[in-house]
């Protein structure tokens, strides 16, 4: 993955499964890749809640340049109005994900 651009789609709750493994993987990617964008899909948007246990680790990642994106509709569906400061909220997340995914120098991973 060295010097790659990477789009990661997180499609499930960050609290299910191996949370440490997931964020460890993102941390590994950010240290090796040119840019990393994390698309929060479905229950993945639960990672965006301000004041959650994930706030510190997400803050570290955003300071390293990782961009987190979430779809407004999915946030609203879960009543998530207070999200972390650097979250990019979009009306069409999947379209943006496809744009990145299909770029020649980008790799994509769905988790």
């Amino acid at each position: 993955v060295s010097n790659s651009h990477i789009a990661v789609a997180l499609t499930h709750s960050p609290y299910s499964g191996e949370r440490e493994g997931l964020f460890g993987l993102l941390d590994l990617f950010v240290d090796q890749s040119a840019s990393l964008r994390v698309y929060l899909m479905g229950d993945g948007v639960l990672a965006a809640k301000e004041g959650s246990q994930l706030q510190d680790v997400i803050s570290e990642l955003t300071q390293k340049g990782v961009v987190f994106l979430a779809e407004k509709k999915e946030l609203n569906a879960r009543g998530l109005r207070n999200t972390f400061r650097n979250l990019r909220v979009t009306d069409d997340l999947v379209s943006e994900f496809v744009d990145d995914l299909m770029k020649e120098d980008w790799k994509a991973l769905v988790i």
Partner: protein, 131 residues
């Protein structure tokens, strides 16, 4: 313009992966790309026709709508389909098995077809282990 191959292993209504797969395919097609969707394991259930849903997005209908695009293909693994009672009979000369239970345009082939798609070395994403 490129080709996107989507590997989908989750069945409909057990996770949101089939819905995401359809949305990703739809966006890629609208942007001019070709899209192949390979259904494997429980993923083969997504293309079954006659799905009746009340509040959930109807995955069978979504695939049927996407299959109106010439640039979109749905291929299901024959072993997975046979084991779930969807595929019966023998392959024709093109390697396709009877797909009477599927929405129009979806085909059933050997798992080798996935290998052929992967060999093309364009873009591949896997929606597996859906929760």
């Amino acid at each position: 313009v490129g080709t996107l191959t989507i590997l989908l292993t989750s069945g409909p209504y057990s996770s949101r992966h089939p819905e995401f797969a359809c949305r990703i395919a739809d966006e890629a097609l609208k942007k001019g790309h070709k899209v192949n969707m390979f259904l494997y394991m429980d993923g083969v259930l997504n293309a079954k026709k006659g799905q009746i849903t009340k509040d959930s997005p109807n995955i069978g209908e979504a695939l049927a709508e996407l299959l109106k695009w010439e640039k979109f293909k749905v291929i299901a693994c024959v072993r997975s389909a046979q084991s779930r009672g969807i595929a019966r009979g023998e392959a024709d000369s093109s390697g396709s098995y009877p797909a009477d239970e599927y929405v129009a345009g979806a085909v059933i082939k050997s798992l080798h077809e996935l290998g052929n798609l992967l060999k093309a070395r364009d873009k591949v994403i896997a929606l597996t282990g859906g929760r």
